[in-house]
Amino acid sequence: MFEDIFRMSGTRLGPGTLYGAIARLERERLIEALPAEERRHPYRLTAEGRRVVRAKLATLHHFARAGLRKLEAR
C-alpha cells in the first residue's frame, strides 16, 4: 500500500499518517483487514468503502472535466 501510494501520487506518507488513515478507515468500516500473508497485512475496501470511493471519484471526474472545459474555452 505504501509503495502503491508513492507510485500513484509521488508522495511517501509518514508511518503515522498511513496507519492513522488505516485506523480511521477501518473504524468507519470503509476497509477491512484480510488474513496476513507472511509480513504483509493486506486490506480491502468494504461495500460501503467501494460506494464512497466511487462517489468521490465521480465528483473528481466531474470537477476535472469542468475544469478542462473551462481551460479549453479560453
Binding site: 509518514g14 508511518p15 496507519y19 492513522g20 485506523a23 509480513r39
Partner: protein
C-alpha cells in the same frame, strides 16, 4: 529500523490502538529506515490520536475538531503570555517606556492574548466539564488520568515559577 526502536515508537501510541495494530505496525516500521521525519510523524500523529481518543465514543467528529482547535489556540495563547512575562525583566521593558508606539503595540498584543485566553477558556470549560462528567459517570479511570495531564502540567509550571520566585527574590526572569 531495529525492533527495539520500533517498540519504543509504538509505545507513544494510544493503548486501544496498540491492541489492534501493534503487530503489523511493528513489522511495517522494521521494514523502513529510521529517520527524524518518521519519528516526528509518528510522535505528532500519536499526540493527535491521544487527543482524539479523549472523547471517542462520547463526542462526534465536530466536537473532536473543536477540542483540537481549542488545544491549538490554548497552546498559542499560553506561548504568547509566556513570552510576555519572560521579557518583562529585560532591557526591552525599559525601552517600551521610551517609545509610545512600542508601548501601545506591546500592551495591545498582551490585551489580545488575555482576551483570546478568556475566550478559549469560556468555550473549553463546558467541553471539559462534559468530558469529566462522562468519565466519572462511566467510571473511565483512563479518561480521568488523561484529563488530569494538562492540569498537572499547569500546576508543575506554577510551582516552578513560585519556587524560582522564592529562591531568587522574585527576580527569576533572565536579566542582562
Amino acid at each position: 529500523m531495529t525492533p527495539r526502536r520500533a517498540q519504543q515508537l509504538i509505545c507513544l501510541c494510544p493503548r486501544e490502538w496498540r491492541v489492534r495494530y501493534r503487530e503489523e505496525f511493528q513489522i511495517f516500521l522494521e521494514d523502513h529506515p529510521l529517520n527524524l521525519r518518521a519519528v516526528l510523524n509518528i510522535a505528532g500523529w500519536a499526540i493527535y490520536e491521544h487527543i482524539l481518543s479523549l472523547g471517542r465514543g462520547q463526542v462526534d467528529q465536530r466536537q473532536q475538531s473543536l477540542t483540537l482547535m481549542l488545544y491549538a489556540y490554548l497552546a498559542a495563547v499560553v506561548a504568547g503570555l509566556n513570552f510576555y512575562w519572560t521579557v518583562a525583566d529585560t532591557p526591552l521593558a525599559s525601552t517600551r517606556q521610551s517609545y509610545a508606539m512600542l508601548f501601545g503595540s506591546w500592551n495591545l498584543v498582551a490585551l489580545g492574548s488575555v482576551i483570546a485566553l478568556a475566550a478559549v477558556v469560556m468555550v473549553a470549560a463546558p467541553v471539559g466539564f462534559s468530558l469529566v462528567r462522562t468519565a466519572c459517570a462511566e467510571k473511565r479511570g483512563d479518561l480521568v488520568w488523561r484529563l488530569a495531564v494538562p492540569v498537572c502540567a499547569g500546576l508543575v509550571i506554577l510551582t516552578w515559577i513560585a519556587a524560582a520566585g522564592v529562591a531568587t527574590g522574585a527576580h527569576w526572569a533572565p536579566t542582562p
